[in-house]
């Protein structure tokens, strides 16, 4: 599947939660009229019930894509549909929930009033609004902060309040722009659990993040965007190469071993010694059995031998690194 123009692999339009085709956005600076291409023909789709991770470096076009999907930005070209409806339509917007990046809300409102506002905009009856707001405020762990104005909330608390208001309408599609940003490890785990819980409820979750371990842990599909273009798109398993990249080895050196690598690190990379433990990565084509025999002969105890495959982080770095000068293929989307 190519990244530049990704054809629909299966299903019809009705099965797609998000369908983006050749999306473009060009900004013009006010006076110089200089063009800035934020999106250069982005095409992808998200199937219903999936968790979709949207990753890319700063300035890649993630937030522009999300804001276009949420109707905050008008595209310069291309089309985008949510749940089978154009993004700007009321039919689409009544069935989605959105958490903006670094969310800001009205300073003087409480989290209950914020949820109530969201519920009113979705046309929910008063009793349903109250019940749902209470339930969500407890779910995101803000039960103890009900009476506080939002201006007294920490960044993490605002993020939780944002999640609560985004889920007021029990949306079919939840779009989260950097939902783990500003959260401590426990908060991140709670958001991850919440995303998985949404999937269990057969919701579709589309989220952007910088945290690749979260993407690997919970997503069904991933798209990598850089310089306004999609660089890769697929399941994490499809995207990363299954080819052996090397072998990670950890050995315990004998007490009598001198400082350094005890002559075991020849040809290896990522060599690191902490106390009497030596860790290194052997090349993919290394004779591992011969190396282990050599380690035993040197009096070392082998603690770990593990094959090393490409990670999403490796792929991310490979795909989003700026093209080398003169590289003819620069800027062209490539297949994973």
């Amino acid at each position: 599947m190519t990244a530049g123009r990704l054809a629909l692999s299966s299903g019809c339009l009705a099965d797609l939660a998000i369908d983006v085709h050749d999306l473009r956005k060009t900004y013009r600076t006010p006076f110089a009229r200089k063009k800035v291409e934020a999106l250069r023909g982005v095409t992808f789709h998200v199937e219903r019930g999936h968790i979709f991770g949207f990753v890319g470096p700063n300035g890649a076009g993630k937030t522009t894509t999300i804001r276009t999907l949420m109707g905050l930005i008008r595209p310069s070209g291309g089309t985008a549909r949510l749940l089978g409806h154009p993004v700007a339509s009321r039919a689409a917007r009544s069935r989605i929930g959105f958490l903006p990046e670094s969310p800001y809300f009205y300073d003087y409102l409480t989290v209950g009033e914020l949820c109530d506002l969201a519920g009113r905009l979705f046309g929910m009856p008063r009793a349903a609004r109250r019940r749902r707001a209470d339930e969500l405020i407890d779910k995101v762990g803000l039960g103890g902060a009900r009476g506080l104005p939002l201006k007294k909330f920490s960044k993490g608390m605002l993020q939780r309040a944002g999640l609560a208001q985004a889920l007021m309408n029990d949306p079919e599609l939840v779009v989260l722009d950097e939902p783990m940003s500003g959260l401590d490890p426990i908060g991140r785990k709670e958001v991850r659990d919440l995303i998985l819980e949404l999937r269990d409820q057969r919701k579709t979750v589309f989220f952007s993040t910088h945290i690749l371990s979260d993407v690997e842990a919970i997503t069904d599909r991933v798209a990598i965007i850089a310089r306004g273009e999609l660089q890769a798109h697929g399941t994490p398993g499809e995207l990363v190469s299954q080819r052996l990249q090397g072998v990670d080895v950890v050995v315990r050196l004998p007490a009598s071993a001198p400082e350094g690598d005890a002559g075991l690190a020849g040809g290896a990379s990522r060599v690191r010694r902490v106390g009497d433990e030596l860790s290194l990565t052997l090349p993919a084509d290394a004779d591992v059995d011969a190396w282990i025999a050599r380690a035993h002969a040197a009096g070392a105890q082998v603690l770990q031998v593990a094959p090393r495959h490409e990670t999403l982080e490796d792929l991310f770095v490979r795909r989003v690194a700026p093209p080398a000068p003169g590289d003819a293929a620069a800027g062209e989307a490539a297949a994973p």
Binding site: R67, G71, L72, R90, R93, S94, S102, L109, E113, G123
Partner: protein
Amino acid sequence: MIGRIWAIALNTFREAARIRVLYGILVLVLGSNLLAVFVGELSQREADRFARDIGLAGISMFGSLTAIFLGVFLLYTEVQRRTIHAIVCKPISRWEFVVGKFAGMAVVLSVLVGVFAVAMLGMLVWQHTGVSAGVAKAVVLSWLEVITVAAIAIFFSSFSTPFLSGIFALGMWVIGRLTPDLEAATRAAAPWIRITTRVALEIVPDVHLFAVSGRTLDGTAVSVHGDFVPWSYVALAAAHGVGWTVALVAFAALLFHRRDFV
């Protein structure tokens, strides 16, 4: 539609009602009313005149300045602080959002004008002065002025910074207030000055219609202390204010509709 506009209006009202500076303005106006009573006592027979003049001037001036202060931040802050991002992605039209914001601000200003008016009436009753129909008409006219000025402010707020919006709105209010004086001053001027002034005055709401006490209308002097305008005049002024308000809020909605929220 009404529910969504009401939701935004209620939210705007809740936000504005918790801004402490409004309470400062309230104290200022109540203080000016007390000052009017004190100065009135000194002048003995003019006590009720002072209370009416300062009370009505307080409603008009503080009300309009508050309208500008609130209005210029109304839409700009939503975009700048990105609070709007979690709102316009929901099933609400952008014009409904603008109308809701304006409606919420109009309710805040109406409550403020109501409190100012009650304070002034309290002073008049305290001084054993009857509350005339003229005073009631003048309060209604001042309220219309405040709402029209709010519409001017929200119009500029839809595309400009609070500082520039404040200058533009203040300029339009002052020019609108001085329209008869500017017309009189340029009557004998060169034709191009007269035409330029005329054109400038035509694109500014005639807020002087709302501050009519002390002026001459159709050769008759009108004063809130004596013969004041009939209710038909108030209705015409209201039509003028409502017309401008609808037009300005519609323009604000149109400009807002075309914006990208980055």
